[in-house]
């Protein structure tokens, strides 16, 4: 869902740029230096996700997983997804330079909102409930992204409005697929590494517990 350079009105580009800078500023404020490796590695993971294609009907789409990015990263999803978009634009020619702000807002803001809305609930739920909520968060984030794309187009000219509507409805299957894949991913994470879905302070507690557990296990026989 990269809008290309040259399609949007200058006002929309500037508005998107300002919002993107504000979001980046907020995201970077919540990014202490010792969180940078984890955020960078996750940002790379979401970049790789965009290379994974899943079939939808006769065609296939690539995963975006922005809802999951919001759940795992919170506000720092903003810079993390921005970096991915920047690399895609510069090295693969997806999207463009002047629309980078708009594209970042369109993809990262829904991710952050999905994180803010669902993170608390997901962290308190059992894996099954967490999976359902994760699926809703994934579909919600894509729906919002599509809506934002449609709005950016509609604001740039009345002639785009039919196309904007079409964009929204054409993306409904993609929302469903993203929701299903996100649900499965959240289920797996909730089972395997629930600390990932916890807010930062709870995650620290959890890591402490895990360290204690590992220290205990170290005394026992290796399980291969």
């Amino acid at each position: 869902m990269h809008i290309v350079d040259g399609a949007l009105a200058p006002e929309v580009l500037i508005g998107g740029g300002v919002l993107a800078v504000a979001g980046l500023g907020l995201g970077l404020r919540k990014l202490p230096i010792d969180k940078i490796p984890a955020t960078g590695v996750l940002s790379a993971t979401f970049f790789v996700a965009s290379l994974i294609h899943v079939p939808v009907g006769p065609s296939s789409v690539h995963l975006i997983m922005s809802g999951l990015a919001g759940l795992v990263l919170g506000w720092t999803a903003f810079p993390a997804l921005f970096v991915g978009l920047l690399l895609q634009a510069i090295f693969f020619g997806f999207g463009g330079l002047t629309v980078l702000g708009v594209n970042t807002v369109n993809i990262a803001l829904p991710a952050v909102l999905a994180g803010l809305l669902f993170r608390g609930m997901v962290s308190r739920s059992s894996p099954v409930t967490a999976a359902v909520l994760g699926g809703v968060a994934g579909a919600f984030s894509i729906a919002l992204t599509t809506l934002f794309v449609a709005i950016s187009l509609a604001l740039s000219g009345d002639a785009f409005i039919p196309a904007a509507k079409l964009v929204f409805f054409a993306h409904i299957p993609i929302m469903v697929v993203e929701g299903l894949v996100s649900a499965a991913a959240v289920y797996l994470i909730a089972k395997v590494k629930p600390a990932l879905l916890q807010p930062a302070d709870a995650a620290a507690d959890f890591q402490l517990q895990a360290a204690v557990l590992r220290a205990k296990q170290a005394g026992e026989a290796p399980n291969g």
């Binding site: 869902m1 809008i3 290309v4 350079d5 040259g6 200058p10 980046l24 970077l28 230096i33 010792d34 940078i36 490796p37 984890a38 955020t39 960078g40 590695v41 996750l42 940002s43 790379a44 993971t45 970049f47 790789v48 290379l51 994974i52 294609h53 899943v54 079939p55 296939s60 997983m65 999951l68 795992v72 810079p79 993390a80 970096v83 920047l86 690399l87 510069i90 090295f91 693969f92 020619g93 463009g96 330079l97 002047t98 002639a159 039919p162 196309a163 079409l166 054409a170 697929v177 299903l180 894949v181 996100s182 499965a184 959240v186 289920y187 797996l188 994470i189 395997v192 590494k193 990932l196």
Partner: protein, 265 residues
């Protein structure tokens, strides 16, 4: 494929041998980054198809001075998101104006068609210039350049980490994918496929986070104190200045002529 994401090599297809940089590659990366940005901003405000075509020509000349593989670059330039193509096709039918032709009762206007063509040309000009000026750089060099251009260090460090681990995680993805294939997995339109996709991605996230913990521990072991040294040998020389002035003059000419044309007619 995974070589496309190597952190210490340009993200273009490796041509093998011949390490001497192309003409464009010898200019100061800072100048190239700024030139690409200015070019993009100017091109998206061009109103006349003639001058937008001039911008494409300028980008094509720049491309011919790089050693990017022609076919791959042109393919990347022309690749657009499906919905953008749909939007461009719909534009003639949704813009009011003089009717040119009609398809199944829907009338296409000349203004709409011109608008769609203009958008297509502008988009391709920016992408081609961006690929020509920037994609020959290694991602690490891009990080250093952005750092020297006063981007927030946290953002630059984040980008460097991302770049470093894309190749690693892409390999990891292929390993997991291979394991699925060996067990007879085939992607189809069913819940099993989506579930497996989710498991695959979830596993990737879990493993990458565990990797990040090890990375941070290793960094701390080596005395990481919250600052990365950024060592580069960027130098702004006279020829970089000449290139900058020449390039700016060309795009200034484009935009001024475009404005004059708009006001004159």
């Amino acid at each position: 494929m995974s070589h496309l994401f190597g952190h210490d090599q340009p993200l273009k297809v490796q041509t093998g041998g011949g390490d001497a940089p192309s003409l464009v590659g010898t200019f100061d990366p800072r100048v190239r980054v700024i030139a690409a940005c200015v070019f993009a901003i100017v091109v998206v405000v061009l109103q006349q198809i003639e001058f937008a075509l001039g911008a494409v020509a300028l980008a094509a000349v720049t491309m011919s001075l790089t050693d990017l593989p022609l076919r791959v670059t042109l393919k990347r330039m022309a690749a657009m998101d499906g919905f953008i193509i749909v939007m461009l096709v719909m534009l003639p039918f949704t813009t009011p104006g003089t009717t040119m032709f009609s398809v199944l009762g829907a009338e296409a206007s000349k203004e709409g068609l011109m608008h769609a063509v203009l958008i297509g040309i502008r988009a391709n000009a920016v992408v081609l210039m961006m690929l020509s000026l920037l994609s020959g750089m290694t991602p690490v060099a891009l990080g250093h350049t952005l750092y020297r251009l006063k981007c927030p260090p946290a953002l630059v460090h984040l980008m460097m980490f991302t770049v470093r681990y894309i190749s690693v995680l892409h390999d990891e993805y292929h390993r997991l994918r291979m394991a699925m294939k060996l067990r007879g997995f085939k992607a189809r339109n069913n819940a099993h496929t989506y579930r497996s996709g989710g498991d695959l991605f979830g596993m990737l996230v879990v493993r990458s986070l565990e990797r990040a913990e090890r990375v941070l521990d290793a960094m701390k072991c080596r005395g990481f104190s919250g600052h990365f040294p950024m060592i580069d040998d960027m130098a702004f020389r006279r020829r970089d200045g000449v290139f900058a002035v020449f390039f700016l003059a060309l795009i200034a000419a484009l935009v001024v002529l475009d404005r004059i044309y708009v006001f004159a007619y």
